[in-house]
């Protein structure tokens, strides 16, 4: 009777291990930070892409509008892919697009914008990548949706697609 009980316990334990490992197989082996709830916008000072003057975060993000902060670079291939969608989003009057030029050569970045068009209301320069860290980004492209209360409400890692554009449009409706 006792041996039988031990066997049942062992069997349950093995099934438990099997389920855990099997579930683990489905999980991606790379970690993607998620946004749990709203996050405050960081307070910062950054160089403006066009004027080359320093601007403060309060002058970039006003309270009355939704914002999209898009991290991009001229050397980033997926950024080219998502650019037409950003151009499409820029036509929407109820949202403002802010670009964060990440670890880029200024001349190449200007060529990129001249070639593909400028969807951004403002572009900030992040020469050393530290501003992207303040936003909680770890690569390019990454896109953040900021609400009227200056809270980051959504984060999209990788190039945006039509589904994400739809989702953004639903948010700002």
């Amino acid at each position: 009777m006792k041996n039988k009980l031990n066997l049942i316990i062992l069997f349950i334990f093995l099934i438990f291990c099997l389920v855990i490992f099997y579930k683990g197989l489905d999980n991606p082996n790379t970690y993607t930070p998620k946004i749990n709830g709203e996050k405050n916008l960081p307070v910062f000072k950054a160089k403006d892409f066009t004027s080359n003057n320093y601007i403060e975060s309060d002058n970039v993000f006003a309270k009355e509008s939704y914002y999209i902060l898009n991290i991009w670079a001229s050397w980033c291939v997926p950024c080219r892919k998502e650019h037409p969608l950003l151009m499409e989003l820029s036509k929407n009057q109820s949202i403002k697009l802010i670009g964060l030029n990440y670890r880029d050569n200024l001349n190449n970045a200007k060529k990129f914008i001249n070639e593909l068009g400028n969807p951004y209301d403002k572009i900030l320069i992040d020469k050393d990548g530290t501003l992207a860290v303040e936003f909680g980004a770890y690569g390019v492209p990454e896109t953040f949706l900021i609400d009227k209360n200056k809270k980051i409400i959504k984060k999209f890692v990788g190039p945006i697609n039509k589904k994400i554009v739809k989702e953004i449009k639903l948010f700002i409706k």
Partner: protein, 122 residues
């Protein structure tokens, strides 16, 4: 001449203590960087990694440190941005209590089984 010597000694002592405190700061910075996971080349610490992300984190840790943040405050800042996973040594909280308590539980259960078997054999 004596005054000059005294000045020289004081100057050297100040310089030496400055050097010593810089060394301590660097040691602590390296300790923090070794405890932060690189999110690009996962499996490597920020200290070992050469990725863009790692170099940005190195700069930001340096900046936060110069702003007067303590080791814990730097970890808290990074956890707020990237979650608990970014730190190699996660602290006990509601997300990590299984991680911390399960080995202890297994140890206690294992110990109890061994003890029971030994008593049974006697």
């Amino acid at each position: 001449m004596k005054t000059l010597k005294a000045f020289l000694i004081i100057f050297l002592l100040i310089g030496f203590s400055q050097l010593k405190s810089d060394e301590k700061k660097d040691e602590l910075k390296n300790k923090i960087l070794k405890n932060i996971r690189c999110l690009i080349c996962q499996g490597q610490s920020v200290y070992d990694s050469e990725s863009d992300f790692a170099s940005s984190i190195k700069l930001i840790v340096d900046k936060k440190f110069n702003d007067g943040m303590s080791e814990d405050q730097v970890y808290r800042f990074l956890k707020e941005k990237y979650g608990d996973w970014v730190i190699y040594d996660p602290k006990l909280n509601k997300n990590t209590y299984i991680l911390w308590l399960l080995p202890l539980l297994l140890f206690l259960v294992g110990g109890a089984i061994i003890r029971k078997n030994l008593i049974f054999k006697k």
